[in-house]
């Protein structure tokens, strides 16, 4: 019986390697390999975001390998071990076991905070670093776990930067915005964002006249659109996922809601090129404060081209996931070791500033990258332009929206 189990666990181990491994290791002996895990929900209701993140990680690994791999480790190629979290926290946590067994040095993930909380906790027992590509809930970095590294900004930072930028935009337009309506998904990031906005917006002289939470999924936005209309708010601040955002945008248009601006914070569709393509009319001038890459960097442009060639949409999931692999690669380069403990030390000391994200040098404080920042994007024509901060901007912000001539 014992043999059966050992054989099973061996099969288990080889089975877990999802990217071209089973080739005889003789051939690979010349090129060393370092394994990096990617834990994403590839099935279940978060499948879209998870799949996009996995794609971003793959592009990054390809680029880094093509440029010679990890030079300090003899040109070691990055091999991704991609595991499905099935949109369920206990599966995400169990998947960490699989990653450990596959001998990854660190891993990225996991799209939803609920999944990331479970996975990082499980990983802590193994001293395995998780570099979060997305983990907006602040609890992610407030548990005192040394193996947690959140590369992208959390909900608190996203909201406060969004508020600062809104203030600047509003001042630039002569303080034309005085009232706001908030529509948000009732999960962790939407609720937290609404809470912060409720405290901070009045300090900017903007009164909140309507706050509407809604579940995901939500089938009908007519009531919500009407309430926004009845509130006569100057701007709408939405924070939800792509499907609901799309339905909401349609309902707003159909109910002839007039707004001076739509200013999303972590909006699900506002930074999604698919939304721009399929709902072009209502998408015009919609602004978002979200994760986005620096469009001026050469590597960003290369990524955009690769994504287009692969027939995928360039969403922020692809970008942040790509960047976290870059961060891990840099840590490998400096530490010259795939040892898990050394990876944690190497990541903690990271000052990496060459990622495609518009961040300065990385600085992890309690696992939170203090130099991470969201940026403002705006939909113009059939493109998503970065409008704020100016140093990364590809277009000038238009605020408020021009009045529609119906």
């Amino acid at each position: 019986m014992k043999n059966t189990f050992n054989r099973r666990s061996l099969l288990q181990g080889t089975g877990a390697l999802a990217l071209g491994v089973s080739a005889p290791s003789v051939l690979r002996a010349q090129t060393p390999i370092v394994k990096v895990g990617v834990l994403e929900p590839l099935t279940g209701n978060l499948a879209y975001n998870g799949t996009q993140c996995a794609a971003g990680a793959k592009f990054a690994a390809e680029t880094i390998n093509a440029a010679g791999g990890i030079k300090s480790m003899g040109g070691a190629k990055i091999e991704l071990v991609i595991v499905d979290a099935q949109s369920r926290p206990e599966v995400a946590a169990s998947a960490v076991d699989t990653l450990v067994e596959a001998n990854v040095c660190a891993f990225t993930g996991a799209t939803a905070s609920a999944l990331g909380l479970a996975s990082s906790q499980a990983a802590a027992k193994y001293n395995l670093a998780q570099v979060f590509s997305i983990g907006t809930a602040e609890t992610v970095v407030s548990r005192g776990l040394p193996n947690v590294f959140r590369f992208t900004p959390g909900v608190n930072k996203c909201t406060s930067i969004a508020l600062d930028n809104l203030k600047l935009l509003n001042q630039g337009a002569g303080n034309v915005v005085k009232t706001a309506a908030i529509v948000h998904e009732d999960g962790p990031f939407g609720s937290n964002m609404a809470k912060i906005l409720t405290e901070e917006l009045p300090k900017q002289g903007i009164q909140i006249v309507e706050t509407i939470p809604h579940p995901t999924p939500h089938r009908d936005f007519s009531n919500i659109a009407l309430r926004v209309k009845a509130s006569k708010a100057d701007i709408l601040i939405p924070s939800n996922y792509i499907n609901e955002y799309t339905l909401m945008a349609r309902a707003l248009n159909q109910q002839r809601v007039e707004l001076k601006a739509i200013y999303s914070i972590l909006g699900g569709a506002a930074s999604n090129i698919k939304f721009v393509r399929e709902n072009n009319e209502v998408a015009q001038y919609v602004m978002d404060c979200n994760h986005w890459y620096d469009p001026t960097k050469a590597e960003s442009k290369a990524l955009a081209a690769k994504v287009a060639a692969a027939g995928l949409d360039l969403t922020y999931d692809v970008m942040v996931s790509y960047a976290t692999i870059q961060v891990i690669a840099d840590a490998l380069e400096r530490g010259a070791s795939a040892d898990r403990q050394k990876m944690i030390a190497s990541l903690a000391a990271s000052t990496f500033d060459k990622s495609i994200m518009p961040y300065g040098p990385t600085k992890f404080v309690n696992g939170d990258n203090t130099s991470a920042q969201p940026v403002n994007t705006q939909i113009r024509g059939d493109k998503i332009e970065l409008v704020f901060p100016k140093q990364y901007a590809s277009a000038e912000a238009v605020f408020p929206m021009p009045v529609k001539k119906n």
Partner: protein
């Protein structure tokens, strides 16, 4: 808030018409085969994809493909019941339920594998058009769905009452053995009923896609409400499904308005629970109790 009540009721009715259309097929299947059909949501999703691809590849409008999609899904439903569900369930009712659950798992994941989880929606000229009724701006697509629902429910009912096949279906529903004795092919009849139910859900898909979207998970979004509609209307009752759908749409809309869209969802389920307690046979139900 009070000025929003009338528009809320009207938009609730529009949404309710969609629930009614989805529930129409479900109530037929439940009323006759006594199956709580978990595949219904997945079939809705499948139909939505078919309509989407017909639009994408052939440029066909979702409304004009109804004559294509309905027969297609009738056949699919017939084969599913006759070829998979009936032989695999071995007669046990509990098993049938789990088998429909397993089939829906299969369909959902096949869709995920082949078509990915990207949200798809159709881009048609009238997607943003509205119709003004009593001061409320109602999406054109929803109004069409409403009108069709009002028309289709009586049509299916008439089919059940006035045609031979319809009578056979009703006979089998009431007394299976007796029906067999008078020469009705029960298996064939069950399969026809399932086929009609599936065609109904395909119709719902054609009317839903213009104002909605499709992902592999979209079935879940509608299936629980569909069950509630069936129970509320009375299992097996077609006018019941229509009325219950409209009613639930209104309840959902008003609860959403007054309790908030998150908490408002309990309106549907509380209605469900209350009906099960006080009149389990539903509004138009024929049988009392289980």
């Amino acid at each position: 808030m009070s000025i929003l009540i009338i528009p809320a009721i009207l938009s609730g009715m529009m949404m309710g018409a969609v629930y009614a259309l989805v529930a129409l097929g479900l109530t037929l299947i439940y009323g006759v085969l006594h199956i709580i059909n978990f595949t219904h949501g997945s079939l809705l999703m499948l139909a939505l994809y078919v309509v989407y691809f017909l639009n994408l590849q052939l440029g066909l409008d979702p409304y004009w493909v109804i004559p294509i999609v309905l027969p297609l899904f009738f056949i699919l439903g017939y084969c599913l019941q006759r070829g998979l569900i009936a032989p695999m369930s071995g007669g046990s009712e509990q098993n049938v339920l789990l088998i429909t659950l397993a089939i829906s798992l299969m369909i959902d994941n096949l869709a995920l594998y082949f078509w990915t989880s990207n949200t798809r929606s159709v881009d048609i000229a009238y997607a943003y058009d509205t119709v003004e009724i009593f001061g409320a701006l109602l999406p054109f697509g929803r109004v069409v769905a409403f009108v069709v629902a009002l028309g289709v429910a009586p049509l299916v009912w008439a089919f059940m009452v006035f045609t031979r096949t319809g009578s056979a279906i009703r006979a089998v529903a009431i007394e299976k053995r007796g029906a067999e004795l008078v020469g009705i092919d029960v298996n064939h009849t069950y399969a026809i009923c399932f086929g009609i139910g599936t065609a109904c859900v395909a119709l719902a898909a054609c009317l839903l896609l213009p104002t909605f979207y499709v992902t592999p998970q979209v079935g879940y979004t509608f299936v629980l409400v569909a069950f509630t509609t069936v129970v509320l209307g009375g299992m097996g009752s077609l006018p019941g499904a229509l009325l219950a759908g409209l009613l639930l749409g209104i309840i959902e809309s008003l609860c959403g308005l007054f309790l908030g869209e998150s908490l408002g969802q309990i309106g549907i389920f509380l209605a469900f629970i209350l009906i099960l307690f006080f009149k389990p046979s539903g509004l138009f139900g024929k049988r009392a109790g289980a």
